[in-house]
């Protein structure tokens, strides 16, 4: 269903596919529908995979593969409901498959570590500001690295606006397991943030 919010309005392709179909109206083509979903979800999907630890090329490959599967899904006229959660679920399974093939599941992946190190290397102007910013970043990095992989993924998806139930579907976990993961993550981050 379509709600005209600023969030949707800000997305150029977020309108066409939102036309609820009349029985007599010509259907939106598969490519139009795919393009709409791509415009809405590609960046967040890519970021999620990067956040899971996928390198740039792998994140792009897996995101594109997820959208190719969506194309097939749409071409077969399957239900087009909650595509966002569907895409995340497919992408996450592709990522897990990739990990299994590579046989290198680790608690904190090298790419994730590199990513954060790279993010934290960003220089800031001004000595005082730089010191404060660096201190804050160091603290955040330390706090984030204390989270388990599931906690990081759950909190990432929650920040993307997924409901707990959807996150549970994406990660293949129980509802309350996800709630607990997010709660633990927020407890850790909130505790550390105190006084900053």
């Amino acid at each position: 269903m379509f709600h005209f919010s600023r969030r949707i309005a800000a997305r150029p392709a977020g309108i066409l596919g939102l036309e609820t179909r009349d029985a007599a109206a010509p259907p939106v083509s598969v490519m139009e529908s795919l393009e709409r979903h791509f415009a809405e979800h590609y960046d967040t999907l890519y970021r999620f995979l990067r956040h899971c630890g996928a390198a740039e090329a792998m994140a792009e490959d897996l995101s594109q593969e997820a959208f190719l599967r969506l194309h097939r899904h749409l071409a077969e006229a399957r239900p087009e409901q909650n595509i966002r959660a569907w895409l995340f679920r497919v992408a996450y399974r592709l990522w897990i498959d990739h990990l299994r093939e590579a046989r290198r599941e680790q608690p904190v992946l090298d790419e994730t570590w590199e990513l954060w190190t790279q993010a934290l290397r960003d220089p800031s102007p001004g000595a005082d500001e730089e010191l404060l910013a660096r201190e804050r970043r160091e603290w955040l990095r330390a706090a984030l690295l204390r989270l388990s992989e599931v906690e990081r993924q759950a909190v990432h998806l929650r920040a993307d606006g997924l409901r707990y139930r959807e996150i549970a579907e994406v990660l293949g976990l129980g509802y309350w397991a996800v709630v607990e993961a997010v709660r633990r993550a927020l407890d850790i981050l909130g505790d550390e943030a105190h006084g900053l």
Partner: protein, 522 residues
């Protein structure tokens, strides 16, 4: 997880429940006592504040440090589109993917199991009901009883009854003298190089359905009686949207007035013909309903749909606000013949759907493009807020009206519009004109507002288009314009846009929008 009805001081809800209640993801009756408890329990309130700090810290860190490093390289859609084009056959691709995903053992086990099932099926059911078997029997039955009452033929385009046309029947391989002929169906089916058959048995009938990518027919089905294999119905779908339904006279009650056969030699198939009197009334009623919704602004993007289903007209939708629901229902109260089903979205039992992406309380992320200039030009925060609000409101208005126009264009393509009764057509023209005028008015107001930052040129008349074709270009221009407005004023992003580029894009999209509108046929 069990929920207690009341939480008192010293008796705290589990932290997980506290979180989901605070995040408005619990049903109201479960969340209410927890939220009330938070009000009176400092310990739980402190815990919730800790969650808030955690969210704030995480979202800020992500926006400032992580997301900028996680932007996909541009051109993603082009690469995907190229990959989609490279897929020779979606089904083949699906098979390939399945092959790679399913472990090898399963590939061995599944065919073995299927083979066993086939053997069992053959033993249990000595004659397998395939499409060929059904058609052979039906041909024999038809030959044995050649004279039957003349069947009823209905031809529809986009759901509307249109006049019968020999050319359409010919394209559909429907023999005009014997429309229900099994033989013609079988001849067509046998002539296909690739086809997909399915046989369905239901309520004393057997239906053979054949889909194909060849020729003018996309799908055709034949329904025969299970007892004597006499043909009851035939359904053909052509690729251009025309459907032909043939029903034996004894199986279909007289529902619709059939248009006369008006085929003229050498004339192209009629895209749409005059609807019958009932259809005319329905069209008129639908148009009045559209106007009623328009008067309360309920045709501008809210999830309210109007459907014609057979003889009836229904308005359905799900709104967030009970007040708005009442307003829509009240607007339609004058149409007792219209079925109205407007629901109010309610949280479901497991997890209510009111989650929103989390926003940071203080944004250190790269700001909207025009903010530095706005800070300089409009030092008064109230003036800045007024400018931003006005720009967003106008942009949204343009987007909504262009969306409404597009919806009308999809509902009433030119052939459908031409087939409308004159009064309904005039009413539609007025509705279209009303949206166009609102669109122009918002665009003019936006031009005036943006004058300090972008000079909108005098509008030239664009290519001459009918309003249906123009609606697509108008919607695209409004979308582009809205995207840039939001990017300039409220949204951060790592798209490489500069303020000058965005303003130029805004100017261009506004020009396109107005030029397209100016070129619309009256």
């Amino acid at each position: 997880m069990a929920f207690e009805s009341g939480w008192t001081a010293g008796n705290h809800p589990p932290p997980g429940e506290l979180l989901v209640a605070w995040e408005n993801q619990l049903p109201r009756e479960q969340a209410a006592p927890i939220l009330a408890h938070i009000q009176q329990c400092w310990e739980c309130r402190a815990r919730v504040e800790r969650y808030a700090r955690g969210i704030d810290a995480y979202v800020n860190f992500r926006q400032v440090y992580l997301d900028p490093a996680l932007t996909p390289r541009p051109g993603g859609w082009l690469r995907l589109a190229a990959r989609v084009r490279d897929i020779p056959d979606n089904q083949a691709a699906a098979r390939r993917t399945l092959r790679t995903r399913i472990p090898r053992g399963v590939w061995v086990a599944v065919p073995a199991l299927l083979a066993a099932l086939v053997v069992i099926a053959v033993i249990v059911s000595p004659v397998r009901l395939t499409a060929s078997v059904v058609l052979d029997r039906a041909v024999r039955a038809e030959t044995a009883q050649p004279s039957r009452p003349a069947p009823r033929v209905r031809i529809r385009r986009a759901g509307r009854l249109i006049a019968a046309d020999e050319r359409v029947l010919q394209a559909a391989h429907v023999d005009g003298s014997r429309p229900l002929s099994v033989n013609s169906f079988r001849t067509w089916r046998d002539g296909l190089r690739s086809r997909q058959d399915s046989v369905t048995t239901f309520d004393g009938e057997i239906r053979v359905e054949t889909k194909t990518d060849e020729g003018t027919i996309a799908l055709a089905s034949l329904t025969v009686a299970r007892t004597d294999y006499q043909p009851h119905a035939k359904h053909v779908e052509l690729r251009d949207g025309v459907t032909i339904d043939v029903e034996s006279a004894d199986s279909s009650p007289e529902h619709e007035t059939l248009p006369e056969v008006t085929a003229q030699p050498g004339e192209a198939p009629t895209p749409a013909a005059n609807p019958g009197p009932d259809a005319e009334k329905r069209e008129a009623l639908e148009m009045e309903v559209r106007w009623a919704l328009h008067r309360i602004g309920a045709d501008l993007g809210e999830p309210v749909t109007i459907r014609q289903s057979g003889e009836s007209l229904s308005v359905a939708g799900t709104l967030d606000d009970p007040g708005r629901r009442d307003q829509v229902v009240a607007a339609l109260r004058g149409f007792p013949q219209v079925s109205v089903q407007i629901n109010v979205a309610a949280p479901d039992a497991q997890a209510p759907a009111h989650a929103e992406p989390i926003e940071p309380s203080s944004g250190a992320a790269p700001g909207p493009l025009l903010v530095p200039r706005l800070l300089n030009d409009l030092p008064d925060p109230a003036a800045r807020a007024a400018f931003v609000s006005a720009a967003l409101r106008l942009s949204q208005s343009m987007l909504r009206h262009s969306w409404a126009l597009r919806r009308l264009a999809v509902r009433y393509p030119s052939p459908t519009e031409n087939a409308l009764p004159a009064e309904v057509r005039a009413s539609l023209a007025q509705l279209v004109a009303a949206h166009q005028e609102d669109l122009r008015s918002s665009a003019r107001e936006a031009a005036s507002l943006w004058k300090p930052y972008a000079q909108f040129d005098a509008v030239e008349t664009g290519a001459r288009l009918n309003w249906q074709d123009a609606s697509r270009a108008v919607l695209r221009a409004a979308q582009r314009s809205d995207h840039l407005t939001v990017r300039l004023l409220t949204a951060s992003g790592n798209d490489g846009l500069t303020a000058a580029d965005a303003l130029e894009g805004l100017r261009e999209s506004q020009r396109q929008l107005l030029a397209t509108l100016a070129g619309v046929h009256p």
